[in-house]
Subunit: 406 residues, 2 copies
């Protein structure tokens, strides 16, 4: 589809000049729990953060660092403990995490370090383990950079790693963009997102990097919902180290549209993977709302349907109970005309003019929703507002995972 953008079957390793690593330092009983991204030279940085009013300490600190410098040389991420709702001590712990990284990698300033945490809210960071983890990575450096170990280290209830990578040409040079993300539960980015770390070897002006990241996030992570619960720790970082040798470019460069498209492609791949791997998910669902009064209305309806427990459980049970989609559309607050609504799933008609289709039996409908990937198109027949949301179903396993998490 994108002949000018080559999809790579790898992750963060695709981008030259960054050292990435993940280790198990004991925060979690098993599996990697500490990730480090290191750039020998400071990289231009852009980021978006959660809009949750209850902000985790690492979010606040990383945002301050970004505002001061606009560059990062290192990102340290731990999973297992979120360092949220931890007050002044949480703030000091995040600061200590930054100081250990600065010392171990001999950086010129603590402000060149970004930190992120994910896991249980309310617990304090086990600083001794984090220090040990950073030292373990320092001992490995510069050998064995590993995108996979890194991707694994940011996972919590995720069942698979989320990686994406592409190559493209900018100003005659080959540029790479790669990213990792974690998702699974407490997923309903609200103008921000879950944890995502993106790297590129392009040389991009800071303002252009920030604005293209914001746009890419709006077109990807901000269209995912698992359970409607926006996290306190959401963060997406994009670092550009310039190692591709491109000239410094911004949105006025003729190849910028290609760079933008490639970044969106990477973010969308990761965002879809997050929906696909929602806690307990058995289905990947793309909800597309068309011909709404406005894009905002389409967005409202798409999220209302995507977060309806009745719609999600019916899809899990492969019960073609389209009335629940109609009821969710009706309660969204948008001024719809029920008689104009058409709903298709994977191209098959379910609702025509606000009523159940007469062209398919209930058994036919059931067969359609037995697919593992569902595209639900809700056509309101009004104006030209459109929006889509990626989500998953609501299963027994969601309850199982979340009734005994902490």
């Amino acid at each position: 589809m994108n002949e000018d953008i080559q999809t790579l079957d790898t992750g963060l390793d695709a981008v030259p000049g960054f050292y990435v690593q993940g280790v198990h330092c004991g925060i979690k009983k098993v599996n990697n729990d500490l990730a480090v991204i290191y750039s020998p030279d400071p990289a231009t940085a852009a980021a978006v953060f959660t809009t949750n009013r209850v902000l985790a300490a690492p979010v606040t600190l990383t945002r301050e660092h970004l505002e001061k410098r606009g560059q990062f040389q290192m990102v340290v991420v731990n999973s297992g403990v979120a360092n949220a709702c931890t007050g002044q001590r949480g703030r000091e712990d995040a600061q200590k995490m930054v100081e250990v990284a600065t010392r171990e990698f001999d950086l010129s300033s603590t402000e060149l370090v970004a930190v992120a945490s994910t896991g249980v809210i309310g617990d304090f960071l086990p600083l001794d383990k984090i220090e040990k983890g950073i030292q373990m990575v320092r001992a490995l450096y510069p050998k064995d950079s590993s995108g996979k170990e890194t991707a694994r280290a940011i996972m919590t209830t995720d069942t698979f790693m989320k990686e994406a990578a592409v190559a493209l040409s900018v100003g005659g040079k080959t540029v790479h963009i790669a990213g990792i993300a974690k998702g699974s539960g407490m997923i309903r980015p609200h103008m921000a997102t879950m944890l995502g770390f993106l790297l590129t070897d392009a040389t991009v002006k800071r303002e252009a990097l920030q604005s293209v990241l914001r746009e890419a996030v709006d077109l990807s992570f901000n269209r995912v919902t698992v359970d409607g619960d926006t996290s306190t720790n959401d963060m997406v970082l994009l670092l550009a180290n310039g190692k591709s040798g491109t000239p410094l470019f911004d949105e006025f460069h003729p190849d910028f549209p290609r760079f933008r498209k490639a970044l969106i492609q990477v973010c969308q791949k990761l965002a879809k993977d997050i929906a696909r791997d929602g806690e307990g998910a058995t289905k990947f669902i793309n909800i597309i709302v068309r011909r709404a009064p406005s894009e905002q209305d389409a967005r409202t309806i798409a999220f209302t349907v995507a977060e309806s427990p009745l719609v999600k459980t019916a899809l899990f049970g492969e019960d073609p109970n389209w009335g629940r989609i109609m009821a969710a559309v009706g309660r969204s607050g948008v001024n719809v005309i029920p008689e104009k609504i058409m709903i298709t799933i994977n191209g098959y008609p379910f609702v025509e003019n606000g009523m159940g289709t007469l062209t398919m039996t209930r058994n036919d409908l059931r067969k359609v929703i037995q697919n593992k990937e569902l595209e639900i198109v809700i056509d309101l027949g009004l104006k030209d507002g459109a929006f889509n949301v990626w989500t998953c179903d609501l299963s027994f396993d969601y309850i199982k995972i979340n009734s005994h998490y902490s």
Copy 2:
């Protein structure tokens, strides 16, 4: 508590002058599925209806009848089929249901009949069965009025009947107020409610009856959420037949405050029962938000917490994961100051100044939430806005019930 209002251990039978009955006419495989409330004389009527844009046919028709006459002589309710998203035929079917009732009970006008339906959306009404059901009730009349059979006939996935009744004195006469309701799933009344039918033998002016019903609904049914899904069929009806012999009274009568208080008491009993019997519920949860910037803000936070799948699953699992409550408060959109938030459950501190309490161990906290009834107080420490919502937890059984409903 209300010495001037006597709580009765019965249901609709408490109110003289109404004939109420429920039968099984075959819409559902087993259990009653058709209810009739009959008043030999037309009764003054008030009602509130769902605000869902996708309106079921019986809601539209009943609303029209109420607007024309302001009185009802009969209410016919079926469970099993919602007659929603059924277009012109649905409208005609509701009209036929009204005509059968008018004919069988020899009423002077079809406009004296209210109809309500609850069950699967999208299916057409089995009119022959409904006709048979109305005839069965006609054959029983006037013997064997039965509030219990009536309450049973409006149930769907409800596991117990919801009934309430009180007696009080108005103008020296004894007045009764009684009600039944059904709830369970697709429960998030939005300025309206699920099915509820209230009777009184008071003689109340129509406007006063409508305004006190609206207020009582706002203080009861509109504070319940099971799953955030507002139904297409919600309706609460209140009929006053004047059989108590009170003078015609309105809000200026000195005993009106007592009548208002009694009606609110009946509605709150039914509303709490609906939350208690939410689909798959194992706990009854009262979420109280205090000292919010405004009542609207308190309302927003109370519903955000009450509908958070992560909060609900943690409570089901008796996992004292209070961070999820903090995260839900934070994403509500209300301008909170996390450091000021205090959360108690059943009087025990969980969160103090935005952090986990230091006075109780995790095991202590776990013991508190092992109670079947939980009162969660979220004190924002700001201004004087307050609101409460009744809800339940989210369990495996919710998924079980809703993954194979239609």
